[in-house]
């Protein structure tokens, strides 16, 4: 695998824009996957658009936060932030991309821009998408599936500061969008399927001014949770109250006292498309899954001693 580094100093490139321009090529001819690894910085480029590459399901691009500076909650200045008044990241022309541990923040005040435009075949892990302007009214995360390939979101979080706009919105295409263990906070609607097929499992919607979930969803959807009566599918939990570590401060990890989402998820480690077993913090979820991006106690990741100490209240605050 080829590795390209992006950072404010001492790296290959100082913006993702420049990295894409400098490395644009036919990865299938090279028989190579290329990883772009981003350091902690606010990328000075106003929106990054990938196009003109040749990729495949075997040889593709990975965009990821460097170790120690991955996307976090509350979102802020600690990791790599791809920000912009334009669409932060446009992957319409680059299918099969893996996006991991990135924070995309759009500061746009209208409805035309997004944090992410997807083209199909991508897998997004542990990303945070933010609309930071109170008047934002667009679709924050918008996969379109032009590649006739499934797009998978796992353990991702959308945060809309205002009361308009929509978090995760599938805009059609011949592939299926699959939302697994994602959390949508704020805006008018949390999850929406405008066109095409979309499956949604273990997803959590809270704080919307309109509805948590809208439209109808693919067979197999379920185990979702919402503050209102819209969580779709079997075994979903509607009209729930969620308790976060620091909801007002932007940390939407589940608190120990949460009774709305904890332990009510479905184990997706064996699901046919895009199986996984970790959470937003890349900690193993263990045998009993929570709904949403965060797993309160990662039974497989926490040591027995840690679990005992947590059970006895030995720590103050989050167990993460």
């Amino acid at each position: 695998m080829a590795l390209v580094t992006v950072g404010p100093s001492g790296r290959d490139y100082t913006s993702l824009f420049a990295a894409e321009a400098g490395e644009q090529q036919d990865l299938t001819a090279l028989a190579e996957t290329m990883a772009f690894e981003m350091d902690a910085m606010a990328d000075p480029a106003d929106g990054a658009k990938f196009d003109g590459w040749t990729v495949s399901t075997t040889y593709y691009v990975i965009l990821r936060g460097a170790s120690g500076v991955q996307a976090d909650l509350p979102y802020g200045d600690s990791g790599y932030r791809l920000t912009g008044s334009a669409t932060c990241l446009n992957l319409i022309g680059l299918q099969f991309t893996r996006v991991q541990d990135l924070c995309l923040i759009t500061s746009d005040s209208g409805g035309a821009r997004k944090a992410l435009l997807g083209g199909g075949g991508e897998i997004f892990d542990r990303c945070v998408f933010v609309a930071s302007h109170t008047s934002y009214s667009g679709n924050l995360v918008e996969p379109q599936n032009h590649a006739s390939q499934d797009t998978v979101f796992r353990n991702c979080v959308s945060v809309i500061v205002g009361t308009s706009g929509q978090g995760f919105v599938h805009q059609g295409g011949s592939g299926t969008a699959r939302f697994y263990n994602c959390t949508a906070i704020g805006g008018a609607n949390g999850f929406d399927r405008d066109f095409g097929a979309a499956q949604i499992i273990n997803c959590l919607a809270d704080g919307q001014s309109g509805t948590g979930f809208t439209s109808t969803w693919e067979t197999g959807s379920g185990f979702n949770a919402s503050w209102d009566a819209t969580a779709p599918g079997d075994d979903s939990r509607q009209s729930q109250t969620f308790t976060f570590v620091d909801g007002s401060g932007g940390d939407y990890r589940l608190a120990s006292g949460d009774a709305g989402a904890r332990t009510f998820g479905s184990d997706l480690s064996g699901i046919s498309v895009g199986p996984f077993s970790d959470d937003f913090d890349a900690i193993a979820r263990g045998a009993t899954w929570d709904i949403g991006a965060d797993q309160f106690v990662a039974a497989g990741g926490a040591s027995p001693l840690l679990a005992v100490l947590q059970a006895h209240g030995a720590f103050i605050g989050s167990a993460h």
Binding site: T14, F17, Q24, K49, G52
Partner: protein, 122 residues
């Protein structure tokens, strides 16, 4: 007070439509930074050329990074036609350091249809 990162070697794609729409070409301005920007290890020769434009705020030259938008002839939808609406004629630039008027002249040359390296038509 601006520095431009300019593509020195055109990228290519086997599909003509993707090549025209998606590939950076020689003379395309990738990013505009303020004077004194600490460029990365690969932000230079052979793929790029850094062009300095002293005395001009970076914000005034950001238009050089805008894509050419238009209607796709097949779908009828608005889309990106080329990565950059304008490009610099690198071969015509006499020195590494430019005045703002040099940039404007180069832009006009391109929008008039001049082809900088024989690979690009607009």
């Amino acid at each position: 007070m601006a520095e431009l990162l300019v593509v020195a070697v055109s990228a290519t794609h086997a599909d003509p439509a993707t090549d025209r729409r998606g590939c950076y070409k020689r003379g395309d301005v990738v990013v505009v930074m303020e004077d004194g920007h600490a460029w990365g290890r690969k932000e230079g020769a052979p793929k790029f050329r850094v062009v300095q434009v002293p005395g001009v705020p970076a914000a005034r030259l950001r238009y050089l990074t805008e894509s050419e938008e238009g209607i796709d002839e097949f779908t009828g939808r608005e889309t990106t036609l080329t990565r950059r609406a304008v490009a610099l004629d690198l071969d015509a630039l006499p020195t590494r350091t430019l005045a703002e008027s040099d940039v404007t002249t180069a832009e006009r040359t391109k929008t008039d249809g001049t082809i900088d390296d024989g690979t690009r038509t607009r």
